[in-house]
Symmetry: C2
Subunit: 412 residues, 2 copies
């Protein structure tokens, strides 16, 4: 007889269905579709030559170690390099503050595993990163959504959320995925203060921090927390778990990211990782270290910034020209995404269906809202497509939207 598999699965799997959106987005993988739906870096900026050189050096000089099992914490020279880099932003951390993960998604998963009992609350921005929701849904999380605007989470609403008793607060302060917003320094300071007051940790997810195209760097939440606590003196022992990644600076195909947190939290995450996958690929850690150790990333990030800034500008320009005037959007200062808002009552999922027929795609915004809302919103990625492709895609999307808005009586 057939095994009745579906009766054997755990509770936690029941929330994980295949979504309509996911099915629609599969269509966007067809090669003739212009997709602003993904979150891919431009392959044009992958440092392929540097990788080749690094692979050759690593295999020549350290082949036996790079191909062997290694420690769960991660390759020590890589962790020390990240610690030094973090030190440049005046947060004193050591290798013991750092865990290497297989991408930031894994860090999100581990944070869920470490903190969340079924039904626990997490404070999130609205909209927030879909991958975090997917990771924490598996642990039965519930979400308290705090509204946000172009300056990020509206921190005035945070205190109310904290009184509900969440396990932690999740923020993406720089060029947020999906909205493109950046949390202002004033709000960051208030976030740190409130989180400390209520004893609620902050998870700061910062994949794009270095991809700023306009304006001045704003200190990270972990920096402000450290400074608030002890004027920045001593090794970090604060209230923030900070995530970043090599995916946007070097290559997402390596699956290399890191967590910075007080050593006692890192020790727990290390136990979690040991049970989950032993360790992150030693070979990839050796290669990434070899590519980055001489300061290559400081130069390389300039190339990425120039490329993405141009693409963002082309997209904004074309939206100005082609989108119906009833549609509004954000002007992100960095990162990879911008956020469109159609008039209330227009369903972005319906727009996507027509757009796919016109061979252009985006992600409808509703999925980024764990507690509903945002049906009229959309996320557009500007990092992956060339400027010419962006021009063509935005033109197609503009025509589609005008048509639908007209039909719905929103556009004349």
């Amino acid at each position: 007889m057939q095994t009745p598999w579906e009766y054997r699965y755990a509770h936690r799997m029941q929330k994980m269905g295949s979504s309509i959106i996911r099915e629609l987005l599969k269509l966007t993988e067809q090669p003739d579709i212009i997709s602003f739906a993904g979150g891919l870096p431009a392959p044009d900026v992958f440092p392929v030559k540097e990788f080749r050189e690094a692979c050759n050096r690593v295999l020549e000089e350290q082949g036996a170690q790079a191909l062997q099992y290694s420690t769960t914490e991660g390759y020590r020279p890589l962790r020390e390099m990240i610690a030094r880099h973090t030190g440049r932003y005046s947060v004193k951390v050591t290798a013991d503050h750092i865990l290497i993960t297989s991408g930031s998604q894994q860090a999100l998963d581990f944070i869920g595993r470490l903190f969340l009992n079924r039904g626990d609350y997490v404070v999130v921005e609205s909209p927030t990163y879909l991958g975090a929701l997917q990771a924490w849904n598996a642990y039965g999380a519930q979400y308290i959504s705090v509204p946000s605007d172009e300056h990020g989470m509206i921190v005035d609403h945070l205190e109310e959320a904290l009184r509900i008793g969440p396990k932690f607060i999740y923020v993406l302060p720089n060029f947020q995925n999906p909205s493109g917003s950046t949390l202002s320094e004033e709000r960051r300071r208030r976030l740190v203060l409130l989180a400390d007051q209520y004893g609620v940790p902050i998870v700061e997810d910062d994949p794009y921090g270095q991809l700023r195209y306009d304006g001045e760097h704003i200190p990270s939440v972990v920096y402000l927390d450290n400074h608030y606590r002890n004027d920045g003196e001593g090794e970090y022992a604060g209230n923030v778990i900070y995530l970043s990644t090599f995916s946007k600076l070097l290559s997402p195909g390596l699956r290399l990211a890191w967590v910075i947190a007080p050593p006692q939290v890192i020790r727990k995450l290390v136990m979690t990782k040991q049970a989950a996958d032993l360790h992150t690929s030693s070979f990839n850690q050796y290669v990434a270290y070899e590519v980055a150790k001489g300061g290559f990333l400081d130069e390389h990030v300039k190339v990425i910034r120039a490329t993405y800034k141009q693409r963002r500008d082309v997209m904004l320009e074309m939206m100005e020209e082609m989108f119906p005037r009833e549609v509004r959007w954000t002007r992100p200062l960095g990162g990879m995404f911008l956020w469109g808002m159609m008039p209330e009552g227009v369903d972005a999922a319906e727009v996507l269906k027509v757009a796919i027929e016109r061979k252009v795609a985006f992600v409808p915004g509703a999925s980024f809202h764990p507690n509903g809302g945002g049906e009229n919103t959309m996320r557009l990625n500007f990092s992956f497509s060339s400027p010419e492709t962006i021009r063509e895609g935005i033109t197609r999307l503009g025509v589609t939207m005008k048509e639908i808005l007209k039909k719905n009586g929103h556009h004349k």
Copy 2:
């Protein structure tokens, strides 16, 4: 104020303490200790040259794809190659039957996540693989231990275990970690029959299947299940989830393994993986495929077999010569481990303490017994150390054991 981290962790973390054994084993990482404690492949057999060539070809010809995000299921040509390879053993599977994971440890974790509610039972051999226990402890598993002998799980005791209502049965049929035992074909057939009768899936963990040094290949449990169901006709739709890995054949540092299961189970595992870490490193998958696609592994595995067979033989020979006669041990037909049994009442953890002073180490067997027992047993790895090192290490261990057994009145 300091964040009271320890009060914020989830229930599931409470079982995960730092064990005394783990602390002891940290000492074995000192370079002057001869360690039979790990489970490392011999770095001598890593195909470093082939890796270099593969990295160069991949980066030259497919750099942009290999460094980019990719699908959660895994690189299709790699999955197709594994499907073809599995077909050689007469189990018809397609790429849709296969998920690439970041090492088999991750597959164990995902299986726990997919099936286990807190308190669910899993049938295991006694002793069984520690990594599986660590993975499933995180989901609150309980274990039903079925005793085993040199022919693996004593299947006569299985029916009793199945009547308790376990979620699945976990077996390592070939050269088991830790005991080195191999499940006989007769027992495999009976296992398949009983599992089908009770509707309980089997997780077959087979990292070492190709590392046989003596005797004839025994058909895998997944093969026997397929044959039992439909005389091996048609694509696989049976009751077994099969795990294997590139860690022992190619390199553990790549973190590349695979799951074979009916497509409906793979689809659930894919959703699990998407939330957990998006996908396994694309670069590593491209490189492994490039190394393996021309049939290299078929040749390479002969080198590994010859190397490990010699090391096993040296270890057995030295044990014969040096170990006290009260100690017994297994003679594994393959794999990487053998299993020692001291007289009842001798505590292997105590022996380890003295052994570490003598600069030699092993893993005490108690940790492989989820329901207690095995305090007098020990796991010895023979794949990692050179024959000379094995000679010296077993000599040191023999002296240590004789001394302790004498003190305890077991040895004259």
